[in-house]
């Protein structure tokens, strides 16, 4: 048994495994290691795994398997993994050029004012450290990252936008994200990258995976075209 896990029914076709009593880093590592383990087992009937921060959703077809079978495999794998799993793959690093402010990041002034910082200070913090991808989220393949070390959480927009341009770089709460495709969104926009974050026809869909890191670097607006449409790729080394 693994004392750091609870497993709860989630309707007739899913279970939720949740890490408990662990710090956020270890909770995150446990649920992702568990997802990797279930992926490797290829349990008949299981068709979806959604590991996020402290929880793993396991989706299955209850005509092909059942809650008890999936639960047993979850407990078995959790016991095998233990409380302190190693990352499945060495993290890779992605460097992402971003044009900040102006039409590219219309909410930069408001975010800066809310944090009591200058716009340059916000950019300096956003570009000053590697940000870890924790999970892939809505609308599809969006890299959900730990946010930069801002002095306070960033509130969401009072009125969400109906359309956010692809490549928009946004923050909310203690999180950061790149919007990979046009979609509605309520997160304040700091800037926009000209690189193509993901290829809808790619397999896998995203070049990055949870555990990888992103480093944002400021880009002058006149150099947008130098990077426009370039596929995002991991740095060597």
């Amino acid at each position: 048994m693994n004392g750091n896990l609870t497993v709860t029914d989630c309707g007739d076709s899913a279970l939720v495994a949740r890490a408990v009593g662990l710090d956020t880093e270890r909770a995150w590592r446990l649920v992702h290691a568990l997802a990797d383990a279930l992926d490797a087992v290829r349990l008949h009937g299981v068709h979806g795994l959604v590991p996020t921060y402290d929880a793993l959703l396991v989706e299955f077809d209850c005509a092909d398997t059942d809650h008890d079978t999936v639960r047993r495999v979850l407990w078995h794998e959790a016991a095998r993994i233990g409380a302190d799993p190693e990352p499945a793959a060495p993290p890779r690093r992605f460097v992402v050029p971003v044009v900040y402010g102006g039409a590219y990041g219309p909410d930069l002034p408001e975010v800066a004012a809310g944090l009591g910082l200058t716009q340059d200070e916000v950019v300096a913090l956003h570009t000053g450290s590697d940000l870890t991808v924790r999970c892939l989220g809505a609308p599809a393949g969006a890299p959900m990252m730990d946010g930069p070390p801002f002095p306070a959480p960033v509130p969401r927009l009072a009125s969400p936008r109906t359309r956010v341009d692809p490549g928009s770089v946004a923050v909310a709460g203690r999180q950061a994200v790149i919007c990979p495709m046009p979609s509605p969104g309520g997160w304040p926009l700091l800037g926009r990258t000209p690189v193509r974050v993901l290829d809808l026809h790619g397999d896998p869909l995203t070049p990055y995976r949870p555990g990888d890191t992103f480093r944002f670097v400021p880009l002058a607006p006149e150099r947008w075209d130098d990077h426009a449409g370039t596929p995002l790729a991991a740095c060597r080394g």
């Binding site: 029914d9 979806g48 809650h67 393949g141 959900m144 995203t206």
Partner: protein
């Protein structure tokens, strides 16, 4: 030249299948036919693989004409199905001659009709599925004049003059009642709602026009269930069918196009069979929820699947007897 199925009246028609299953880890919604049961049965009635491309017709009248003899099956919400003006049955294979016009009109007591063709037709795929996804910007809505390339033809089967229906395969037809009952089980966060969780039952809910394949918004005159706990919920995976209670005055029920993560507590989860029924809910109609145990929900889903398996066997037998070529991938 390849044979085609040409759209005459498009209504709201899309090329559809059972969805991009298995990609939720990459943040991709499942998508696919909202009434999975009807979609499966339509393909099975044509001897196709269940995952073959078919047409999903939403609410509005539709017409198409094949350039070769074909066998079709129309399932889903009750509607009037005609072939060159002659009424033909839903939920059975129907033989259509080259140049005849298939019409689906007056969709009622539900929202979606499925039309499958023996051998299916060519379709574009994205991430393992031809299902449209408005967020991904994939999958066009069909327009009059669009021609789908048929993968195979089927010799004419029924009597050319009497048009007596040839098949009586007894496909499992779900109920399409005037007031839909949607089965749900307890959600993982039910306890957070205390006694107010019971408000989900016993009161009718009205389907808002802002409902789509991502989710249905439901309103009621009665008080909504409310959380008795507070605090933010970390974003985590939510299942298709999750019944959520955002801050406003509506319930949100996630369907197959839902983003895979969300931050609201999950009060209840629509059952697998309930999701097919919910996929037929029309904006403006009222529906009620019914509480089921997990065991009841699983049993109902398995019974529905077994009925499809039995139908597949009957189709194979009937097609074999009539020397209908069963599609290679079926």
């Amino acid at each position: 030249m390849a044979d085609t199925l040409t759209v005459r009246t498009a209504g709201i028609a899309t090329v559809q299948d059972l969805g991009r299953v298995g990609r939720s880890r990459h943040g991709l919604p499942a998508g696919g036919a909202l009434d999975q049961h009807s979609a499966r049965v339509a393909n099975v009635l044509c001897g196709n693989d269940e995952t073959a491309p078919l047409l999903e017709l939403t609410a509005l009248d539709f017409a198409c004409t094949p350039s070769s003899d074909v066998l079709i099956a129309v399932t889903g919400a009750p509607a009037r199905l005609t072939v060159d003006g002659t009424a033909r049955p839903q939920w059975e294979p129907v033989s259509v001659r080259a140049g005849e016009t298939v019409r689906v009109t007056g969709i009622r007591l539900g929202l979606r009709v499925y039309l499958a063709v023996l051998g299916s037709f060519e379709a574009d795929y994205l991430q393992g599925s031809c299902a449209p996804d408005t967020v991904l910007g994939f999958g066009p809505v069909l327009r009059p004049g669009d021609a789908l390339t048929l993968r195979t033809a089927c010799p004419p089967l029924d009597h050319p003059y009497s048009r007596i229906p040839l098949f009586r395969l007894h496909a499992p037809v779900p109920p399409f009642p005037a007031e839909r009952i949607i089965d749900v089980t307890d959600g993982p966060d039910r306890a957070e709602f205390g006694d107010s969780a019971a408000r989900l039952f016993g009161t009718p809910f009205t389907v808002s026009p802002q409902s789509n394949h991502i989710g249905l918004r439901l309103r009621t005159e009665a008080p909504l269930p409310r959380r008795v706990t507070s605090g933010e919920v970390l974003s985590r995976g939510v299942p298709v069918g999750a019944v959520e209670v955002p801050a406003g005055d509506e319930l949100l029920v996630l369907h197959r196009g839902r983003g895979v993560t969300a931050g609201y507590p999950v009060l209840a989860v629509v059952t697998a069979t309930g999701l097919s029924a919910l996929g037929q809910a029309r904006p403006g109609e009222t529906l009620r929820f019914r509480h089921r145990t997990l065991a009841q929900a699983v049993t109902a889903h398995r019974a529905q699947r077994l009925a499809i398996d039995a139908l597949r066997t009957r189709v194979r037998t009937a097609f074999g007897t009539l020397r209908i070529p069963v599609p290679a991938d079926g």
